[in-house]
């Protein structure tokens, strides 16, 4: 009876561990993240163009003001997007031998380069500005 109990416990532990690994790897592979972000991309772009969400210096999406942050759909989208970005930055950081912050800042820079002039970006001081107002003025 004692042996059976130990066997059951060991089996339970193995099954639990296996399912945990399976679940985490299913959510965290680059391809899975890419599929989810691709599905969300059109909506995120639309919100960026309408000036409701912007990019932070650490490479995360954020609502530009409190009113938009309280919108349930926007809030849900931002959370899902940032969760995937966090996972992605972690994977790239591990592969490149750098930090998550470094990857995030690299992505923020990439977003800035690709953004249109009306897109919003958060400055280091925490202020939201449109890209056109952050560019050096031409003489």
């Amino acid at each position: 009876m004692k042996k059976l109990n130990i066997k059951t416990i060991v089996l339970y532990c193995v099954v639990t561990l296996f399912s945990m690994v399976t679940i985490s790897s299913a959510q965290g592979t680059k391809e899975d993240i890419k599929i989810r972000m691709k599905d969300r991309f059109a909506k995120i772009s639309e919100l960026k163009q309408s000036g409701k969400i912007g990019e932070t210096p650490l490479g995360f999406a954020e609502a530009v003001n409190k009113e938009f942050a309280q919108d349930e759909e926007i809030s849900r989208l931002i959370t899902a997007e940032n969760n995937d970005r966090k996972l992605l930055y972690g994977i790239i950081a591990k592969e490149s031998g750098t930090s998550v912050e470094e990857v995030g800042m690299g992505n923020a820079k990439r977003y800035f380069q690709k953004a249109s002039d009306s897109d919003y970006f958060k400055t280091q001081a925490g202020e939201w500005k449109q890209k056109k107002d952050m560019m050096p003025q031409k003489p």
Binding site: F41, S45, K48, Q49, I92, S96, T98, V103, R110, S116
Partner: protein
């Protein structure tokens, strides 16, 4: 006396030369490594977000809306 002065002079020269070598090494290597990592990260990000350039970008839609002459 001359011999002692010579030893001290050689000692100073050797010490200074040693310091220069250490300074140069510490300045060059981190820059090289950082650049290498940045390029690697940039490439990985560009590869991952390739779908953004495949006609899904809203800004392209805006461009398409402009009337053709």
């Amino acid at each position: 006396m001359k011999f002692i002065i010579l030893i001290i002079a050689v000692g100073i020269v050797v010490t200074l030369t040693g310091c220069w070598t250490i300074t140069v090494k510490h300045q060059v290597e981190p820059i090289y490594i950082t650049m290498n990592v940045n390029v690697k990260v940039e490439k990985q990000l560009n590869d991952f977000f390739d779908f953004e350039d495949q006609g899904q970008d809203g800004s392209n839609t805006t461009k398409d809306k402009t009337p053709k002459q």
